[in-house]
Symmetry: C2
Subunit: 373 residues, 2 copies
């Protein structure tokens, strides 16, 4: 045998086992290494810092709830901006570190760290602000926004505001060498497999060829159909991005975000090039509410950027084989995304795309299932 | 946020949650990629192949139980060697692939694949042979031998034999550049942390220094105290290995293997060198039983080797700082290994070593806790 340590993975049934979810998901956030990675993301940090300190009127004398406080930084900032009380909820043992950080930064009279799942926590009062950094890859991976919605419905005053207040998912057509590289990896891996089948028959008298189809499927999924993390260069965009989902954080329900489906058109704006992938990313904005707007709006975008890349990067969905496209061609795209049956924090994405040439001719639509793991 | 997918990790309490265990452990074995890695290990494959086919008298007309059949190869061999019936038990969906393999190799009349945990499975009869490849890193990682013991006590006839029949754990003193490299990684990581603390204070008004101690501990554990997988060259051994545990697979109980403790002496047999680590590995032997011995004994060793390295390699426990040693010095070592409280398939190892110089002088003993993850 000899298996690598705890590799996560599917559970037997569709319902959520809290212990399994903890083992698979929350544990990652119990490492300071991972916290440091997020705290070193300048785009992320600047956005939240500016959102709080340029809109102090939302915090001065107010009660704040930080959902998933991690190291506690958003709670410290909320207190420094003048909050009367901050409840900082954290499911992992990181709560101990948050407590230490809050004490070391002299805001322990304002911030109360509560270790527990948001859904299990009891607060002594309703809150004016919910602040949370809940966004996963392509916005919804991790399904953490569910807990923020839960917190909002249970604990936010009717006049309360959400930080961030709005979120959007984007998709764009891109060119990239990643797909060629992954196709090469896939082919090498299949070639290894065929040698292995021959060797096993020759040396040990067992014919493994019956597993070739399953091996191919496993590796196609791994190399070609699982979205890739990448920080794309803006010059890799070969057409305008489209918004595939808009979320009002004050109004959205879990039903609104459980499944995402959108039809949209992506115009190609580059001469004779290759569509080798679709890229997905998100932005969030801090706008307060209509009744209670911010003084200065702040945006956090994870779009391809030269100077402002984030730890989220973009999710890249490879197109095999790449499609020759030209300026004024159009891609008609249908996207649907739902949660993986095996792990509700991962996503299955169906993408169907049809190329309409500038001549008016339409190519046959291509449908591919992708996995955000 | 943005966490990598399912990373396994600790659970809240000490008892074993079967669903968590499945998510953390078994899922790995549901990938053909991982099966191929094991099936490509020639040392492993040759040992089991020879053990079966050079001792056909143990299989001809007999009933065999294969615990954790994986792809099914040991079950196929058992059938090819003449077994009357083979029960091949597998906890993961790999059972489907095993069934296909067994059919493709025309042994479906003999081999019955049963999907389920060994502890939950009901067989229609007792068996003459239990065959299993249950060994993890440093033999006992994964704690899979528990299931083999359970199967033996419940299903093996009194006259039955175990394949393998014996196992041993070994430790040796080694020289290696790995420790310097890891110490360098650790120091780089701490230096990054100090920059991060300064930057966070300067840019965002939050003092993170209170977390420095915890960050250091987390990273010491990761870089310096977690045993490393390595295939050592035999010339890296600087003294004779010692046996720290012997297991008779026919007699051992779970109590016998739950905790391992041993005191032993390691003589240095190389002139002026450095003790930079201890290496741990195992071997297993196929000897049958006293009443029912094999015709030809086979050994599978994972010791450092030039031509016969295995996918298990050796586990390397780093010594910081390295110790200057000389020929005829002796290391007096006490080792104790127990299961991790957070995950019973991982191990905590305490190593205390005291150098006795050839002059008779003794250096102060050093005690270090290591983790096999």
């Amino acid at each position: 045998m000899a298996a690598p340590a705890g590799n996560g993975g599917p559970v037997a049934n569709g319902s959520v086992d809290k212990n399994v979810d903890f083992a698979n998901y929350f544990c990652t956030y119990a490492y300071l290494y991972h916290q440091k990675e997020m705290l070193s993301d300048r785009v992320r940090m600047d956005a939240y810092y500016n959102a709080v300190f340029k809109n102090k009127h939302h915090f001065v004398g107010k009660v704040v709830l930080d959902v998933g406080t991690g190291s506690g930084i958003l709670a410290v900032w909320s207190a420094q901006a003048g909050a009367r009380k901050v409840y900082a909820v954290e499911a992992t043992k990181m709560a101990d570190h948050a407590r230490a950080l809050i004490h070391a930064n002299s805001v322990e009279d304002v911030v109360q760290v509560i270790e527990g799942s948001m859904e299990d926590v009891d607060l002594p009062e309703k809150v004016d602000v919910i602040i949370s950094e809940w966004m996963g890859y392509f916005l919804l991976r991790e399904s953490m926004f569910d807990s923020v919605i839960w917190a909002r419905d249970r604990w936010l005053k009717p006049s309360g505001v959400m930080y961030p207040s709005h979120a959007r998912m984007w998709v764009a057509p891109v060119r990239s060498g990643l797909g060629d590289q992954k196709m090469n990896d896939f082919e090498t891996s299949m070639s290894d497999w065929y040698s292995f089948v021959n060797d096993t028959e020759a040396n040990y008298g067992v014919n493994m060829n019956v597993l070739t189809k399953a091996y191919r499927e496993e590796h196609e999924k791994y190399y070609l159909k699982t979205s890739l993390w990448n920080n794309l260069h803006p010059s890799q965009l070969i057409g305008h991005p489209a918004i595939v989902k808009e979320i009002d954080c004050l109004a959205a329900t879990v039903d609104d975000i459980r499944d995402v489906s959108a039809k949209f058109m992506l115009p190609i704006n580059m001469e004779r090039t290759r569509l080798s992938a679709f890229a997905g990313w998100f932005d969030v904005r801090f706008r307060g509410s209509i009744q209670n707007p911010v003084e200065q709006e702040v945006e956090l975008t994870t779009a391809p950027s030269i100077d402002n890349s984030t730890h989220w990067g973009q999710q890249v969905f490879l197109v095999h084989p790449p499609l020759r496209v030209d300026e004024r061609d159009k891609l008609m795209v249908a996207l649907s995304m739902s949660r993986s049956k095996e792990n509700h924090r991962l996503m299955d994405v169906n993408l169907t795309y049809e190329l309409q040439l500038s001549s008016g001719k339409c190519l046959k639509p291509v449908a591919t299932k992708y996995y955000i793991e």
